[in-house]
Protein backbone atom coordinates (compact mmCIF):
# COMPACT_ATOMS: atom_id res chain seq x y z
CA UNK A 1 0.00 0.00 0.00
CA UNK A 2 1.15 3.48 -0.73
CA UNK A 3 1.46 5.76 2.27
CA UNK A 4 -1.34 7.97 0.93
CA UNK A 5 -3.93 5.20 1.01
CA UNK A 6 -2.73 4.09 4.36
CA UNK A 7 -3.42 7.51 5.85
CA UNK A 8 -6.88 7.63 4.31
CA UNK A 9 -7.66 4.19 5.56
CA UNK A 10 -6.44 5.03 9.03
CA UNK A 11 -8.45 8.25 9.08
CA UNK A 12 -11.56 6.39 8.02
CA UNK A 13 -11.03 3.77 10.67
CA UNK A 14 -10.50 6.45 13.28
CA UNK A 15 -13.72 8.11 12.18
CA UNK A 16 -15.62 4.85 12.50
CA UNK A 17 -14.16 4.20 15.92
CA UNK A 18 -15.14 7.66 17.08
CA UNK A 19 -18.67 7.16 15.68
CA UNK A 20 -19.02 3.97 17.64
CA UNK A 21 -17.91 5.80 20.74
CA UNK A 22 -20.72 8.29 20.15
CA UNK A 23 -23.22 5.46 19.82
CA UNK A 24 -21.95 3.94 23.05
CA UNK A 25 -22.35 7.22 24.91
CA UNK A 26 -25.83 7.81 23.49
CA UNK A 27 -26.92 4.29 24.29
CA UNK A 28 -25.85 4.38 27.89
CA UNK A 29 -27.25 7.88 28.35
CA UNK A 30 -30.68 7.11 26.88
CA UNK A 31 -31.15 3.82 28.65
CA UNK A 32 -31.97 5.56 31.98
CA UNK A 33 -34.67 7.53 30.21
CA UNK A 34 -36.46 4.30 29.44
CA UNK A 35 -35.92 3.15 33.00
CA UNK A 36 -37.45 6.39 34.26
CA UNK A 37 -40.47 5.98 32.03
CA UNK A 38 -41.03 2.39 33.05
CA UNK A 39 -40.65 3.16 36.74
CA UNK A 40 -43.76 5.36 36.47
CA UNK A 41 -43.17 7.63 39.40
CA UNK A 42 -46.45 9.39 38.73
CA UNK A 43 -48.23 6.06 39.11
CA UNK A 44 -50.25 6.60 35.98
CA UNK A 45 -50.03 3.07 34.69
CA UNK A 46 -53.49 2.11 35.91
CA UNK A 47 -55.09 4.93 33.93
CA UNK A 48 -53.39 3.75 30.77
CA UNK A 49 -54.08 0.10 31.55
CA UNK A 50 -57.78 0.85 31.90
CA UNK A 51 -57.86 2.22 28.37
CA UNK A 52 -56.50 -1.06 27.09
CA UNK A 53 -53.66 0.63 25.26
CA UNK A 54 -50.61 0.10 27.39
CA UNK A 55 -48.32 -0.89 24.55
CA UNK A 56 -46.33 2.22 25.13
CA UNK A 57 -44.78 0.43 28.07
CA UNK A 58 -43.75 -2.41 25.82
CA UNK A 59 -42.02 0.10 23.56
CA UNK A 60 -40.13 1.44 26.54
CA UNK A 61 -39.01 -2.02 27.65
CA UNK A 62 -37.74 -2.78 24.17
CA UNK A 63 -35.97 0.54 24.09
CA UNK A 64 -34.25 -0.14 27.38
CA UNK A 65 -32.69 -3.37 26.18
CA UNK A 66 -31.82 -2.19 22.70
CA UNK A 67 -30.06 0.89 23.98
CA UNK A 68 -28.02 -1.16 26.39
CA UNK A 69 -27.20 -3.56 23.58
CA UNK A 70 -26.16 -0.66 21.38
CA UNK A 71 -23.79 0.41 24.11
CA UNK A 72 -22.20 -3.02 24.37
CA UNK A 73 -22.06 -3.70 20.64
CA UNK A 74 -20.55 -0.37 19.77
CA UNK A 75 -17.73 -0.96 22.24
CA UNK A 76 -17.20 -4.30 20.57
CA UNK A 77 -17.32 -2.44 17.26
CA UNK A 78 -14.54 -0.12 18.29
CA UNK A 79 -12.35 -3.15 18.85
CA UNK A 80 -13.54 -4.81 15.63
CA UNK A 81 -12.65 -1.82 13.49
CA UNK A 82 -9.28 -1.38 15.14
CA UNK A 83 -8.45 -5.00 14.43
CA UNK A 84 -10.27 -5.11 11.07
CA UNK A 85 -10.49 -8.84 10.78
CA UNK A 86 -13.12 -10.15 8.42
CA UNK A 87 -15.14 -12.42 10.66
CA UNK A 88 -15.19 -10.06 13.62
CA UNK A 89 -16.34 -7.17 11.48
CA UNK A 90 -19.03 -9.30 9.88
CA UNK A 91 -20.26 -10.34 13.31
CA UNK A 92 -20.39 -6.71 14.38
CA UNK A 93 -22.36 -5.69 11.30
CA UNK A 94 -24.91 -8.44 11.74
CA UNK A 95 -25.36 -7.72 15.44
CA UNK A 96 -25.87 -4.05 14.81
CA UNK A 97 -28.43 -4.77 12.11
CA UNK A 98 -30.47 -6.93 14.51
CA UNK A 99 -30.32 -4.34 17.29
CA UNK A 100 -31.22 -1.65 14.78
CA UNK A 101 -34.37 -3.52 13.81
CA UNK A 102 -35.48 -3.83 17.45
CA UNK A 103 -34.81 -0.19 18.21
CA UNK A 104 -36.90 0.76 15.18
CA UNK A 105 -39.70 -1.38 16.60
CA UNK A 106 -39.42 0.34 19.96
CA UNK A 107 -39.50 3.86 18.55
CA UNK A 108 -42.41 3.15 16.25
CA UNK A 109 -44.43 1.44 19.00
CA UNK A 110 -43.98 4.39 21.34
CA UNK A 111 -44.83 6.91 18.64
CA UNK A 112 -47.96 5.19 17.37
CA UNK A 113 -49.49 4.34 20.71
CA UNK A 114 -49.07 7.84 22.05
CA UNK A 115 -51.66 8.98 19.50
CA UNK A 116 -54.42 7.15 21.33
CA UNK A 117 -54.22 9.36 24.39
CA UNK A 118 -56.68 12.18 23.85
CA UNK A 119 -58.05 14.05 26.89
CA UNK A 120 -61.59 12.83 26.27
CA UNK A 121 -60.39 9.27 26.73
CA UNK A 122 -59.38 10.02 30.29
CA UNK A 123 -62.47 12.14 30.90
CA UNK A 124 -64.78 9.31 29.94
CA UNK A 125 -62.79 6.85 32.01
CA UNK A 126 -62.85 9.17 35.02
CA UNK A 127 -66.60 9.75 34.82
CA UNK A 128 -67.37 6.08 34.37
CA UNK A 129 -65.09 4.63 36.96
CA UNK A 130 -64.20 7.23 39.61
CA UNK A 131 -65.60 6.18 42.95
CA UNK A 132 -68.09 3.82 41.47
CA UNK A 133 -69.31 0.91 43.59
CA UNK A 134 -67.19 -2.20 43.31
CA UNK A 135 -68.74 -5.21 41.60
CA UNK A 136 -69.72 -8.17 43.72
CA UNK A 137 -68.78 -11.33 41.92
CA UNK A 138 -65.30 -12.11 43.19
CA UNK A 139 -62.90 -13.37 41.89
CA UNK A 140 -63.98 -12.98 38.30
CA UNK A 141 -64.10 -9.23 38.67
CA UNK A 142 -60.66 -8.72 40.19
CA UNK A 143 -59.60 -6.77 37.15
CA UNK A 144 -62.55 -4.39 37.41
CA UNK A 145 -61.87 -3.91 41.11
CA UNK A 146 -58.25 -3.12 40.37
CA UNK A 147 -59.27 -0.62 37.71
CA UNK A 148 -61.92 1.14 39.79
CA UNK A 149 -59.73 1.39 42.87
CA UNK A 150 -56.74 2.45 40.81
CA UNK A 151 -58.59 5.19 38.97
CA UNK A 152 -60.15 6.53 42.18
CA UNK A 153 -56.84 6.65 44.03
CA UNK A 154 -54.98 8.13 41.09
CA UNK A 155 -57.49 10.92 40.57
CA UNK A 156 -57.65 11.67 44.28
CA UNK A 157 -53.91 12.02 44.28
CA UNK A 158 -53.92 14.12 41.11
CA UNK A 159 -56.51 16.53 42.42
CA UNK A 160 -54.87 16.98 45.77
CA UNK A 161 -51.24 17.16 44.74
CA UNK A 162 -51.44 18.88 41.38
CA UNK A 163 -54.22 21.26 42.49
CA UNK A 164 -56.60 20.48 39.72
CA UNK A 165 -60.14 19.23 39.41
CA UNK A 166 -61.09 17.01 36.52
CA UNK A 167 -59.61 16.70 33.05
CA UNK A 168 -60.71 20.04 31.65
CA UNK A 169 -61.52 21.66 34.99
CA UNK A 170 -64.36 21.76 37.54
CA UNK A 171 -66.93 21.86 34.77
CA UNK A 172 -66.33 18.15 34.16
CA UNK A 173 -67.96 17.37 37.47
CA UNK A 174 -70.54 20.14 37.23
CA UNK A 175 -71.88 19.13 33.86
CA UNK A 176 -71.83 15.43 34.43
CA UNK A 177 -72.37 14.88 38.12
CA UNK A 178 -73.64 18.22 39.45
CA UNK A 179 -71.27 18.63 42.35
CA UNK A 180 -67.59 18.87 42.93
CA UNK A 181 -65.41 16.27 44.44
CA UNK A 182 -64.07 16.97 47.86
CA UNK A 183 -60.52 16.62 46.58
CA UNK A 184 -61.07 19.62 44.37
CA UNK A 185 -61.23 21.86 47.41
CA UNK A 186 -58.16 23.65 48.63
CA UNK A 187 -56.68 22.05 51.69
CA UNK A 188 -54.62 23.64 54.39
CA UNK A 189 -51.39 22.26 55.74
CA UNK A 190 -53.12 19.77 58.02
CA UNK A 191 -55.22 18.30 55.23
CA UNK A 192 -58.53 19.86 56.22
CA UNK A 193 -60.54 21.81 53.69
CA UNK A 194 -59.82 25.53 53.92
CA UNK A 195 -63.28 26.88 53.22
CA UNK A 196 -65.98 24.40 52.36
CA UNK A 197 -68.71 26.88 51.47
CA UNK A 198 -66.48 28.82 49.15
CA UNK A 199 -65.40 25.57 47.55
CA UNK A 200 -69.01 24.47 47.06
CA UNK A 201 -69.92 27.57 45.13
CA UNK A 202 -66.66 27.48 43.23
CA UNK A 203 -64.76 30.57 44.32
CA UNK A 204 -61.39 30.39 42.68
CA UNK A 205 -58.60 29.84 45.17
CA UNK A 206 -60.71 27.53 47.29
CA UNK A 207 -61.54 25.36 44.36
CA UNK A 208 -58.77 24.08 42.17
CA UNK A 209 -59.40 25.48 38.77
CA UNK A 210 -56.30 24.54 36.83
CA UNK A 211 -56.53 22.38 33.80
CA UNK A 212 -55.17 19.03 34.71
CA UNK A 213 -53.83 16.02 32.94
CA UNK A 214 -50.26 17.07 33.19
CA UNK A 215 -49.75 13.72 31.64
CA UNK A 216 -46.06 13.54 32.15
CA UNK A 217 -45.95 10.10 30.77
CA UNK A 218 -47.04 11.43 27.42
CA UNK A 219 -44.13 13.84 27.48
CA UNK A 220 -41.70 11.14 28.54
CA UNK A 221 -42.89 8.88 25.80
CA UNK A 222 -41.45 11.50 23.48
CA UNK A 223 -38.11 10.50 24.95
CA UNK A 224 -38.63 6.88 24.02
CA UNK A 225 -39.66 7.61 20.45
CA UNK A 226 -37.72 10.73 19.43
CA UNK A 227 -34.42 9.92 21.11
CA UNK A 228 -34.66 6.45 19.64
CA UNK A 229 -35.17 8.07 16.27
CA UNK A 230 -32.11 10.27 16.76
CA UNK A 231 -29.81 7.46 17.78
CA UNK A 232 -31.03 5.38 14.86
CA UNK A 233 -30.34 8.10 12.31
CA UNK A 234 -26.76 8.29 13.53
CA UNK A 235 -26.33 4.52 13.75
CA UNK A 236 -27.59 4.08 10.20
CA UNK A 237 -24.71 6.08 8.76
CA UNK A 238 -22.19 4.41 11.04
CA UNK A 239 -23.28 0.97 9.91
CA UNK A 240 -23.07 2.11 6.29
CA UNK A 241 -19.53 3.26 6.90
CA UNK A 242 -18.57 -0.06 8.47
CA UNK A 243 -20.14 -1.98 5.60
CA UNK A 244 -18.12 0.08 3.16
CA UNK A 245 -14.96 -0.47 5.19
CA UNK A 246 -15.68 -4.20 5.22
CA UNK A 247 -15.91 -4.33 1.45
CA UNK A 248 -12.56 -2.57 1.12
CA UNK A 249 -10.66 -5.04 3.25
CA UNK A 250 -8.17 -7.41 1.68
CA UNK A 251 -9.25 -10.96 2.16
Amino acid sequence: MTPDLDTKDRCFRALLIWSNLVIACCGIALMPMCIFFISDRGRLYVLVYATGNDSIWRGAWKGLFTRFSLFCTSIFGMHAIAVSKINILLAYILLMAIIYAFEVASAITAATHKDWFVPDLFLKQMLQKYNKPLPDNLPSTQDQIYVINGITETWNRFMTESKCCGVYGPEDWVKNESHFRQQCCQQDAMGAISHLEACKIGVSPFLHAQVTLKADFIRHSFGVSWFGFAILCWTFFVILGVIFHYTQLDF
Binding site: V104, A111, K114, D115, Q125, E171, V174, S178
Partner: protein, 290 residues
Protein backbone atom coordinates in the same frame (compact mmCIF):
# COMPACT_ATOMS: atom_id res chain seq x y z
CA UNK B 1 -95.94 50.32 37.96
CA UNK B 2 -99.08 50.28 40.06
CA UNK B 3 -98.98 52.64 43.04
CA UNK B 4 -99.84 51.39 46.46
CA UNK B 5 -102.86 52.80 48.31
CA UNK B 6 -103.69 52.36 51.95
CA UNK B 7 -104.65 48.85 52.92
CA UNK B 8 -107.01 48.40 55.85
CA UNK B 9 -105.65 45.14 57.24
CA UNK B 10 -105.89 41.64 55.88
CA UNK B 11 -109.41 40.82 56.92
CA UNK B 12 -111.34 39.28 54.06
CA UNK B 13 -114.19 41.70 54.71
CA UNK B 14 -112.19 44.61 53.50
CA UNK B 15 -112.39 45.39 49.88
CA UNK B 16 -108.98 45.90 48.37
CA UNK B 17 -108.85 48.81 46.04
CA UNK B 18 -105.64 47.64 44.39
CA UNK B 19 -103.54 44.46 44.34
CA UNK B 20 -102.14 43.76 47.79
CA UNK B 21 -98.65 42.79 46.62
CA UNK B 22 -96.23 45.46 45.55
CA UNK B 23 -94.33 44.66 42.43
CA UNK B 24 -90.72 45.73 42.38
CA UNK B 25 -88.93 46.42 39.16
CA UNK B 26 -86.09 43.99 39.67
CA UNK B 27 -85.72 40.44 38.60
CA UNK B 28 -83.37 37.77 39.86
CA UNK B 29 -80.48 36.81 37.66
CA UNK B 30 -77.60 34.41 37.71
CA UNK B 31 -74.63 35.74 39.59
CA UNK B 32 -72.27 37.24 37.06
CA UNK B 33 -69.06 36.57 39.00
CA UNK B 34 -66.77 33.79 37.84
CA UNK B 35 -68.01 31.09 40.14
CA UNK B 36 -67.42 27.59 38.88
CA UNK B 37 -70.69 26.26 40.26
CA UNK B 38 -73.03 29.08 39.29
CA UNK B 39 -74.99 26.75 37.05
CA UNK B 40 -75.04 23.04 37.60
CA UNK B 41 -77.53 20.38 36.69
CA UNK B 42 -79.57 20.90 39.83
CA UNK B 43 -78.55 24.20 41.40
CA UNK B 44 -78.10 27.86 40.51
CA UNK B 45 -76.33 30.76 42.15
CA UNK B 46 -78.35 33.98 41.97
CA UNK B 47 -77.68 37.55 42.89
CA UNK B 48 -79.15 38.33 46.33
CA UNK B 49 -82.13 40.68 46.70
CA UNK B 50 -80.05 43.44 48.19
CA UNK B 51 -81.70 46.59 46.91
CA UNK B 52 -85.02 45.18 45.85
CA UNK B 53 -87.38 45.99 48.69
CA UNK B 54 -85.95 49.21 50.08
CA UNK B 55 -87.81 52.48 49.85
CA UNK B 56 -91.22 50.86 49.93
CA UNK B 57 -93.91 52.30 52.10
CA UNK B 58 -95.74 49.22 53.35
CA UNK B 59 -97.62 49.61 56.56
CA UNK B 60 -98.20 45.99 57.31
CA UNK B 61 -94.61 45.07 57.10
CA UNK B 62 -92.52 48.19 57.16
CA UNK B 63 -89.68 47.18 59.38
CA UNK B 64 -86.64 45.52 57.96
CA UNK B 65 -86.37 43.57 61.18
CA UNK B 66 -89.65 41.81 60.71
CA UNK B 67 -90.18 41.39 57.01
CA UNK B 68 -88.80 38.19 55.57
CA UNK B 69 -87.41 37.68 52.11
CA UNK B 70 -88.26 34.43 50.46
CA UNK B 71 -87.41 32.95 47.07
CA UNK B 72 -89.99 31.35 44.81
CA UNK B 73 -88.70 28.72 42.43
CA UNK B 74 -91.10 27.66 39.71
CA UNK B 75 -90.87 25.28 36.79
CA UNK B 76 -93.26 25.16 33.85
CA UNK B 77 -96.78 25.62 35.16
CA UNK B 78 -95.45 26.58 38.58
CA UNK B 79 -95.26 30.17 37.39
CA UNK B 80 -98.98 30.44 36.79
CA UNK B 81 -99.75 28.30 39.85
CA UNK B 82 -97.86 30.65 42.09
CA UNK B 83 -99.41 33.69 40.52
CA UNK B 84 -102.80 32.20 41.27
CA UNK B 85 -101.82 31.39 44.87
CA UNK B 86 -99.89 34.48 45.80
CA UNK B 87 -102.70 36.38 47.42
CA UNK B 88 -103.51 33.60 49.88
CA UNK B 89 -102.36 33.43 53.46
CA UNK B 90 -99.79 30.95 54.68
CA UNK B 91 -98.31 30.78 51.22
CA UNK B 92 -95.40 28.72 52.52
CA UNK B 93 -97.62 25.72 53.22
CA UNK B 94 -99.39 25.54 49.92
CA UNK B 95 -96.60 23.75 48.06
CA UNK B 96 -93.94 22.28 50.30
CA UNK B 97 -90.69 21.25 48.70
CA UNK B 98 -90.99 17.44 49.02
CA UNK B 99 -94.17 17.39 46.96
CA UNK B 100 -93.48 20.31 44.70
CA UNK B 101 -92.09 18.32 41.78
CA UNK B 102 -93.11 14.85 42.75
CA UNK B 103 -95.80 14.20 40.14
CA UNK B 104 -97.38 15.68 37.08
CA UNK B 105 -100.20 17.22 39.09
CA UNK B 106 -98.07 18.92 41.73
CA UNK B 107 -97.81 22.66 41.87
CA UNK B 108 -94.25 22.81 40.56
CA UNK B 109 -93.13 25.68 42.70
CA UNK B 110 -91.77 26.02 46.19
CA UNK B 111 -90.69 28.77 48.54
CA UNK B 112 -87.60 28.95 50.64
CA UNK B 113 -86.63 31.56 53.16
CA UNK B 114 -83.53 33.66 52.67
CA UNK B 115 -83.73 35.66 55.87
CA UNK B 116 -84.87 38.99 57.26
CA UNK B 117 -84.87 42.07 55.11
CA UNK B 118 -82.18 43.65 57.24
CA UNK B 119 -79.77 40.84 56.27
CA UNK B 120 -79.74 42.14 52.72
CA UNK B 121 -78.75 45.80 53.02
CA UNK B 122 -78.18 48.05 50.13
CA UNK B 123 -75.44 48.27 48.88
CA UNK B 124 -74.49 44.65 49.18
CA UNK B 125 -71.77 43.62 51.58
CA UNK B 126 -68.85 42.03 49.78
CA UNK B 127 -68.62 38.32 50.38
CA UNK B 128 -72.38 37.83 50.69
CA UNK B 129 -73.31 38.74 47.16
CA UNK B 130 -74.61 35.36 46.18
CA UNK B 131 -77.46 33.06 46.96
CA UNK B 132 -77.23 29.40 46.07
CA UNK B 133 -80.48 27.68 45.21
CA UNK B 134 -80.23 24.02 46.10
CA UNK B 135 -77.66 24.29 48.85
CA UNK B 136 -79.63 21.98 51.16
CA UNK B 137 -79.43 19.15 48.72
CA UNK B 138 -82.17 16.57 48.72
CA UNK B 139 -83.99 17.71 51.83
CA UNK B 140 -87.40 16.87 53.24
CA UNK B 141 -88.59 19.81 55.35
CA UNK B 142 -91.39 21.85 53.80
CA UNK B 143 -89.45 24.98 52.95
CA UNK B 144 -85.88 23.84 52.63
CA UNK B 145 -83.55 25.07 49.93
CA UNK B 146 -83.62 21.88 47.99
CA UNK B 147 -82.15 20.94 44.65
CA UNK B 148 -84.13 21.31 41.49
CA UNK B 149 -84.99 18.55 39.07
CA UNK B 150 -82.06 17.77 36.82
CA UNK B 151 -81.93 19.72 33.61
CA UNK B 152 -85.12 21.66 34.28
CA UNK B 153 -85.86 25.19 33.16
CA UNK B 154 -86.76 27.33 36.16
CA UNK B 155 -87.86 30.90 36.88
CA UNK B 156 -87.24 32.67 40.15
CA UNK B 157 -88.84 35.46 42.07
CA UNK B 158 -87.99 37.16 45.32
CA UNK B 159 -90.93 38.00 47.58
CA UNK B 160 -91.28 40.00 50.75
CA UNK B 161 -93.41 38.09 53.27
CA UNK B 162 -95.23 39.31 56.32
CA UNK B 163 -94.31 36.78 59.00
CA UNK B 164 -97.57 37.18 60.89
CA UNK B 165 -99.73 35.40 58.38
CA UNK B 166 -97.23 34.58 55.69
CA UNK B 167 -98.76 36.69 52.98
CA UNK B 168 -96.83 38.14 50.13
CA UNK B 169 -96.53 41.91 50.49
CA UNK B 170 -94.08 42.68 47.74
CA UNK B 171 -92.66 40.75 44.87
CA UNK B 172 -90.00 41.12 42.21
CA UNK B 173 -90.54 40.29 38.58
CA UNK B 174 -90.08 36.76 37.36
CA UNK B 175 -86.58 36.05 36.16
CA UNK B 176 -85.86 34.86 32.66
CA UNK B 177 -85.90 31.16 31.96
CA UNK B 178 -82.79 29.63 33.48
CA UNK B 179 -82.00 26.24 32.06
CA UNK B 180 -79.96 23.86 34.15
CA UNK B 181 -77.46 21.47 32.59
CA UNK B 182 -78.94 18.16 31.53
CA UNK B 183 -77.11 15.15 32.87
CA UNK B 184 -74.88 13.78 30.15
CA UNK B 185 -74.25 10.11 29.86
CA UNK B 186 -70.48 9.49 29.92
CA UNK B 187 -71.03 6.92 27.17
CA UNK B 188 -71.79 9.78 24.84
CA UNK B 189 -68.31 11.23 25.14
CA UNK B 190 -66.40 10.49 22.01
CA UNK B 191 -63.05 9.17 23.07
CA UNK B 192 -62.25 7.99 19.62
CA UNK B 193 -59.09 8.12 17.79
CA UNK B 194 -58.10 11.61 16.78
CA UNK B 195 -55.91 10.72 13.86
CA UNK B 196 -52.25 10.12 13.42
CA UNK B 197 -50.00 12.88 14.61
CA UNK B 198 -47.28 14.34 12.43
CA UNK B 199 -44.49 13.12 14.67
CA UNK B 200 -45.64 9.54 14.37
CA UNK B 201 -45.73 9.73 10.59
CA UNK B 202 -42.24 11.23 10.44
CA UNK B 203 -40.75 8.67 12.80
CA UNK B 204 -42.39 5.67 11.18
CA UNK B 205 -41.70 6.58 7.59
CA UNK B 206 -38.07 7.61 8.06
CA UNK B 207 -37.16 4.70 10.30
CA UNK B 208 -38.82 2.12 8.09
CA UNK B 209 -37.03 3.43 5.02
CA UNK B 210 -33.70 3.45 6.88
CA UNK B 211 -34.20 -0.10 8.03
CA UNK B 212 -35.15 -1.28 4.55
CA UNK B 213 -32.15 0.47 3.05
CA UNK B 214 -29.86 -0.98 5.67
CA UNK B 215 -31.06 -4.52 5.06
CA UNK B 216 -30.77 -4.07 1.32
CA UNK B 217 -27.21 -2.80 1.57
CA UNK B 218 -26.33 -5.58 3.97
CA UNK B 219 -27.64 -8.11 1.48
CA UNK B 220 -25.68 -6.49 -1.35
CA UNK B 221 -22.55 -6.50 0.77
CA UNK B 222 -22.92 -10.17 1.60
CA UNK B 223 -23.49 -11.09 -2.04
CA UNK B 224 -20.54 -8.98 -3.12
CA UNK B 225 -18.27 -10.49 -0.53
CA UNK B 226 -19.31 -14.07 -1.16
CA UNK B 227 -19.53 -14.02 -4.95
CA UNK B 228 -17.46 -11.25 -6.47
CA UNK B 229 -14.42 -11.77 -4.27
CA UNK B 230 -14.15 -15.45 -5.16
CA UNK B 231 -13.74 -14.71 -8.88
CA UNK B 232 -10.60 -12.73 -8.17
CA UNK B 233 -9.09 -15.57 -6.22
CA UNK B 234 -9.39 -17.99 -9.15
CA UNK B 235 -6.90 -16.11 -11.37
CA UNK B 236 -3.93 -18.43 -12.05
CA UNK B 237 -0.47 -17.11 -11.33
CA UNK B 238 2.04 -18.84 -13.63
CA UNK B 239 5.66 -19.43 -12.95
CA UNK B 240 7.88 -20.25 -10.05
CA UNK B 241 5.26 -19.57 -7.46
CA UNK B 242 3.49 -22.81 -8.17
CA UNK B 243 6.67 -24.74 -8.24
CA UNK B 244 7.86 -23.32 -5.01
CA UNK B 245 8.82 -26.00 -2.60
CA UNK B 246 9.81 -25.54 1.02
CA UNK B 247 12.95 -27.42 0.54
CA UNK B 248 14.78 -26.50 3.69
CA UNK B 249 12.08 -28.07 5.88
CA UNK B 250 11.27 -31.20 3.99
CA UNK B 251 14.66 -32.25 2.71
CA UNK B 252 17.69 -31.24 4.75
CA UNK B 253 20.20 -32.22 2.01
CA UNK B 254 22.03 -29.48 0.16
CA UNK B 255 19.92 -28.16 -2.54
CA UNK B 256 20.92 -28.27 -6.17
CA UNK B 257 18.95 -25.95 -8.32
CA UNK B 258 18.28 -27.96 -11.39
CA UNK B 259 17.66 -24.91 -13.49
CA UNK B 260 21.33 -24.12 -13.46
CA UNK B 261 22.73 -27.62 -13.93
CA UNK B 262 23.80 -27.07 -17.50
CA UNK B 263 26.03 -24.07 -16.83
CA UNK B 264 29.86 -24.50 -16.73
CA UNK B 265 31.57 -25.07 -13.44
CA UNK B 266 32.10 -21.93 -11.55
CA UNK B 267 35.44 -21.37 -9.86
CA UNK B 268 35.54 -22.58 -6.30
CA UNK B 269 37.76 -21.72 -3.39
CA UNK B 270 40.42 -24.22 -4.57
CA UNK B 271 41.14 -22.40 -7.76
CA UNK B 272 41.69 -18.84 -6.89
CA UNK B 273 40.73 -16.28 -9.32
CA UNK B 274 43.61 -14.37 -10.74
CA UNK B 275 42.89 -10.87 -11.34
CA UNK B 276 43.81 -9.39 -14.61
CA UNK B 277 45.02 -5.87 -14.98
CA UNK B 278 44.31 -3.45 -17.66
CA UNK B 279 47.34 -1.12 -18.15
CA UNK B 280 45.91 0.54 -21.05
CA UNK B 281 42.39 1.01 -21.84
CA UNK B 282 42.42 -0.33 -25.29
CA UNK B 283 39.86 -2.98 -25.06
CA UNK B 284 40.95 -4.65 -28.24
CA UNK B 285 44.16 -5.92 -26.66
CA UNK B 286 43.87 -8.94 -24.46
CA UNK B 287 44.44 -8.38 -20.79
CA UNK B 288 47.89 -9.35 -19.42
CA UNK B 289 48.31 -11.29 -16.26
CA UNK B 290 49.82 -9.57 -13.25
Amino acid sequence: MIKLSIVFGNSPNVFFLCPPTVPVNNSPAINPSSLAAKLTSNSVILMPPSCYFDNLNILTCNSPTTCEIWLVTAIDTGVSNFDADKNKTYIDTLSPYPTAFSSNTSKKYFLTKLGLQKDYPCPVVAGTDYFRVGSDGSCSTPNCNGILPVGSTARFRYVLINPANKTVVAESLWSNNITLYPLKDPESIDNGFAGRSASMIVITSILCSFLALLLLLLLIMLIYVLCCREEKQEIQVPGSVRMYDTHNLKDPSPYVNRAYEDEPQRPTATSPIRLKSYTDYDLKKPATEL
